[in-house]
């Protein structure tokens, strides 16, 4: 085989290998944003008290239909709320009083944002903030509340039984 041809193939192999390592570093290990879909988008923001396990690139759905993706998540230093940017497809317009809720697909599935259309005549524009938001349901908090209520109920239940038993003794 000609030396130049051989060197070309080796060079191509090395480039392919470097590309593969780059792909693993940036795309698999989370260096760059992916999965944003095609087409024009506009960005709106939503503040949440608790985002739970919401991640960037998570879907934004309206009536179960994919309408955009979560762009970035950051903590607002003033309000200490999570500021989530939503990249919505330009073909979908929502009213300015649209509400956003963090939902979970399935019992243990990925979290996504569900949008519910409001009744306002004005549309949401790029850079606007969705004011009506509902935070993620954190299972630990829910179990904690349930356990507290359960314990309190038990305590109340036993205290009402005591006076009944007292005369018999």
């Amino acid at each position: 085989m000609k030396k130049s041809v051989l060197e070309f193939w080796v060079g191509l192999f090395v480039l392919l290998g470097i590309f593969a390592i780059g792909f693993l570093a940036f795309r698999v290990a989370g260096g760059v944003s992916v999965g944003g879909g095609s087409g024009k988008t506009y960005t709106v923001y939503a503040d949440f008290t608790d985002i739970g396990g919401l991640k960037t690139n998570a879907p934004v759905k309206a009536a179960g239909v994919l309408v955009g993706r979560v762009g970035s998540i950051s903590l607002d230093p003033q309000t200490y709320q999570a500021k989530v940017s939503l990249n919505l497809n330009s073909q979908y317009q929502f009213s300015s009083d649209v509400s956003a809720q963090i939902l979970t697909s399935g019992l243990l599935g990925e979290q996504y944002i569900g949008l519910m259309q409001g009744g306002d005549m004005e549309n949401l524009e790029a850079g606007d903030t969705i004011t009506l938001t509902a935070s993620a349901l954190v299972l630990e908090n829910l179990i904690g509340k349930f356990m507290t209520n359960f314990t309190e109920q038990n305590a109340n239940g036993s205290s009402t039984e005591e006076p009944v038993q007292a005369p018999s003794e």
Partner: protein, 258 residues
């Protein structure tokens, strides 16, 4: 008594072989300057060891990824956790399957070829002729092949991983309908470059070193007959596969145990 004798004999043979490989490794290291001085010899060997293995590695990676995607989705769906398919596939490939399977495939394709080539050189007395011409056969024949193998292995393992992840993407997202954003975001938020990718690359480099060392050692010390070459090539594949699996256990215990 005969059984105990066999065990004892095999143990002694194993220790002797290990010593021989270690001494040969030291010999290769001492002559490794040749790989830099006569760089084009190494480039030529990268072609034979790396370029010619790319296709088999990429195709195998794709199919392994597809199987992981299909099996992973089927099993995870039972627990409503199909969303973590991307992470599961990437972690399996980067940490274990990529380096190990690529190394075993590399041993059976490039490793076996290396052993046969060096064995044939020995059979046709080319190595002796080099000695007569005051050319060190280890420096001229073994060193470029050794470093070409060590260099090619991490690149091949990375190609295997990328092909595997795309295989899982094709099945999980394109065929079974998992959301592509979730597939990638779960992967990105759980896979770390330093922990998963880099450790996988270190693993594959060590495997490349072990496999190539076994291949050149077997070739260089083969019995100079056609049967001897055949036996040496078989030993290369078998020993490499077992060594890779044994080293994998040790490296996994060191790298991925918290």
């Amino acid at each position: 008594m005969n059984f105990i004798q066999t065990i004892g004999y095999n143990t002694l043979q194993f220790i002797r072989a290990l010593g021989s490989v270690c001494l040969f490794f030291i010999q290769i290291l001492s002559k490794s300057g040749t790989a830099l001085i006569r760089f084009k010899l190494s480039v030529r060997q990268v072609y034979f060891a790396g370029v010619l293995s790319v296709l088999i590695i990429a195709v195998s990676g794709l199919f392994v990824g597809m199987v992981l995607g299909l099996q992973g989705y089927t099993q995870l769906s039972k627990f409503k956790s199909a969303d973590i398919l991307g992470y599961m596939v990437a972690a399996s490939l980067l940490r274990e399957l990529g380096p190990v399977l690529a190394a075993i495939l590399f041993a059976s394709s490039a490793g076996g070829a290396m052993t046969s080539e060096i064995g044939l050189m020995k059979t046709t007395e080319q190595l002796e002729a080099m000695n007569v011409m005051a050319v060190n056969p280890v420096a001229r024949v073994v060193v470029p092949r050794f470093w070409a193998g060590v260099f090619s292995m991490p690149l091949l393992a990375s190609i295997f991983n990328v092909a595997g992840i795309y295989g899982a993407y094709l099945i999980g997202v394109q065929y079974l309908g998992l959301d592509s954003g979730i597939f990638w975001s779960q992967m990105q938020s759980n896979i770390s470059f330093g922990y998963d990718v880099l450790n996988g690359l270190i693993k594959s480099t060590v495997f490349g070193l072990a496999v190539t060392l076994i291949a050149v050692h077997q070739g260089f010390h083969s019995v100079p007959t056609s049967e001897g070459i055949l036996r040496a090539s078989t030993r290369t594949v078998v020993s490499s596969a077992l060594t890779v699996l044994a080293i994998d256990f040790i490296l996994t215990a060191l790298m991925f145990t918290e």
